[in-house]
């Protein structure tokens, strides 16, 4: 009986940790994505946010595309979020968030992108 309760508590604890994953700032990573990234990448990460207008020289990356996202290492993703697109030889339309988000928030966003693309990168 005790073992059963113990396992149940472990499962509950793991669930609480994985659901609504939040970073040091207390913001859930989904909220960070919707607030900062969705304006270009779309609420579901398909690269179809409101700033992806026709006349833009490049389109925002589709974060759900494993083919596209597999071209990037985890370090590439972190660099692009921190320093902006030019850090990975991409467009400056991807702005730098290094002074906006903490390292922990940026790392959690990288994990979130890997979840969206269901890919590990190169």
């Amino acid at each position: 009986m005790r073992v059963k309760w113990f396992s149940l508590s472990i499962i509950t604890f793991a669930f609480v940790l994985s659901a609504g994953a939040s970073v040091a700032s207390g913001e859930a990573v989904e909220d960070l994505y919707r607030f900062h990234c969705a304006q270009c990448h779309g609420l579901k990460g398909m690269g179809d946010g409101p700033n992806a207008t026709r006349e833009m020289p490049v389109s925002p990356r589709d974060h759900t595309s494993a083919v596209e996202m597999n071209k990037l290492t985890d370090a590439d993703i972190i660099n692009a979020i921190t320093e902006g697109g030019p850090a990975t030889s991409k467009s400056s339309l991807m702005p730098p968030y290094g002074k906006t988000l903490s390292k922990a928030e940026i790392s959690s966003l990288k994990d979130y992108l890997r979840k969206l693309c269901n890919c590990k990168g190169k």
Binding site: E27, D31, F35, Q39, P50, N51, S91, S92, P95
Partner: protein, 220 residues
């Protein structure tokens, strides 16, 4: 002599009458602002208190507690009498268009409310005298180095171009005080602690922030 005195008295009364309404406008404007419950959407008490994304998303409209530092004289009166969307999207939304349904005020109310709002200033905004100018350096930052147009629309060869998530810069020359643009870029958290726009202070240097403020203030 009597005529001269009468004339002087007349001039004096005219001067007093001309000066008094500027104070009356502020008080009357506050009354109108309160009566119309404008504070349901617009904060008029500073400093900013938002700490989380949820706090920011709870706001229904732009904060106005530093309106007198942000806007150029004359803009608000004109805008309140004939409101036109400044943001292509609804406030805090990345999906809904701005329906352009802001209440319209009569000419008198618009004048008074504008006087009240222009009396709300932030000590953060110093009078630096940054002039609006199509500075080539500012233009390079706006269009190439940081691609600000990715979120802020502008007029290019007579047509609207650029992203939709930020306030449009079409008409920024009539609307924004370049000194405020500088302060906002320099210390954004003093005005909006939680915002969709990235922080550029520490990325752009002092001279670049001034050039950019000057360029943004020149867009029309």
């Amino acid at each position: 002599m009597i005529i001269r005195r009468l004339f002087a008295a007349g001039l004096l009364s005219a001067a007093v009458l001309w000066a008094v309404p500027s104070f009356a406008g502020v008080d009357e404007g506050k009354k109108t602002f309160d009566a119309n419950k404008c504070a349901l959407c617009h904060q008029v008490q500073g400093p900013a208190k938002e700490k989380t994304i949820k706090d920011q998303l709870a706001k229904k409209g732009p904060e106005l507690w530093y309106a007198g530092s942000k806007f150029k004289s004359g803009f608000l009166e004109k805008w309140l009498a004939s409101p036109q969307p400044i943001r292509p999207l609804a406030y805090n939304s990345v999906t809904d268009r701005n329906r352009g349904d802001h209440p319209k005020l009569s000419a008198k109310d618009a004048s008074n409310v504008a006087a009240y709002l222009m009396s709300l200033k932030s000590p953060e905004v110093k009078s630096l005298g940054i002039a609006a100018s199509e500075s080539p350096k500012g233009r390079i930052i706006f269009l190439k180095k940081q691609s600000c147009y990715g979120c802020h629309s502008m007029r290019v060869r007579g047509k609207m171009a650029g992203g939709l998530s930020g306030p449009s810069f079409i008409g920024a020359f009539e609307r924004l005080n370049p000194d405020w643009v500088y302060s906002y870029l320099k210390n954004p958290k003093a005005f909006k602690p939680v915002k969709m726009m990235p922080v550029y202070s520490g990325i752009l240097n002092e001279a670049e922030i001034k050039e950019l403020a000057s360029y943004v203030g020149s867009l029309n």
